[in-house]
Amino acid sequence: MKAGLFILMFLGIASQAVADPEADRVAFEKFYKERLPGIEIAAHKDGAYALDAAKREQWLEIEDFPPYEIAVDEGESLFSVAFANGKSYTDCFANGGMGIKQTYPYFDLDRGEVITLELAINNCRDANDEAQLDYMGEEMGNISAYMAFTSRGNKFDIKVPEEAVEAYEQGKRFYYERRGQLDFACSSCHMDIVGGLLRAEILSASIGHATHWPTYRFKWEQIGGIQRRFLQCNEQVGAESLAQQSKAYRNLEYFLTYMNNGMELNGPASRR
């Protein structure tokens, strides 16, 4: 009896030590369900606008004439232009690149690293002897906006194979680690005080943080990817901001997007 109990305890400890992304995700979802009981998990795809009716009204009016519409149109033409070697983006992606964003980022077993959609776009250009695009530039924003647009309504289906556990864990650590002059972790604002008012801004839930990219931000006056937001968050808390598509940001995006598994993609979107 005692031995059995001991073995059970041991198993309990052992299973805690082994990374279990799906258990993390279930706990993540449960956390927000309990913290914000009036809000359906699916509704968080609209970020802070899921949490405040008045702000949501204003936002819906903006979305009547979406500021990212031009980006999607231009992205479509850019996407269809052939490279100098006669090939095009469609040759680099599954299903010709249409409706595939729900599988990004993924862990590339051959390269041994996380590949985001933006990185895959530049890898495609590399492979076809085209110059890389600036990750903060308009062209990258437009192409990824078009690809996101064709993925609307699909649900995130991120996989973490055995080989990817370390990258996932690194992303998870980044999310919970305090940094910068203000000593904030991602989780400080988006878990500990989620739904709270920072001045007049409502702190959004991280469940839903991955669904709507790229996003036209009025603050940027431009469409940009999730990692641009990471950079801005780091700057806001007085922490070192990292390069776009750096390993740390890619791993963070991997973790965060896995936490959004099962949620509907609704990008591109607009945010203040």
Binding site: Q181, D183, F184, G196, L198, R199
Partner: protein
């Protein structure tokens, strides 16, 4: 804008040697208030309701009856210097330990907050 200019003038008064001794407790409270309200300094309003402050956040408790809550001024100072000392899970930035404010500025803010 006006409050920033005011704040700079007050800070000048404090920093010029010889004049600092002439700063009254009321002036210190005013100076502390300017630092507390400044978005690029204390920015206390981003999380706390404070009398006279516009567009306050509501993350931390409203800053009222501070002498009742902190009879000991040094406990309040420690809270502003490094709130994690009392509560490791706090989201309040460590204003002193991370040099978000100078030691002098922390003391002025403590004077102001303690007066509420």
């Amino acid at each position: 804008m006006r409050s920033v200019a005011q704040f700079q003038i007050l800070l000048l008064i404090l920093l010029v040697p010889g004049i600092s001794t002439a700063v009254s407790p009321e002036q210190r409270i005013e100076m502390g208030k300017a630092i507390a309200f400044n978005r690029n300094a204390g920015n206390c309003l981003s999380c706390h309701v404070i009398a006279d402050g516009e567009l306050p956040g509501m993350i931390g408790p409203p800053l009222v009856q501070m002498k009742l809550r902190f009879p000991d001024r040094s406990a309040l100072r420690s809270q502003i210097w490094e709130a994690a000392k009392r509560n490791p899970d706090t989201v309040m930035p460590p204003y002193g330990r991370h040099s978000i404010l100078t030691e002098q500025e922390v003391d002025l803010v403590v004077d102001f907050i303690h007066s509420l």
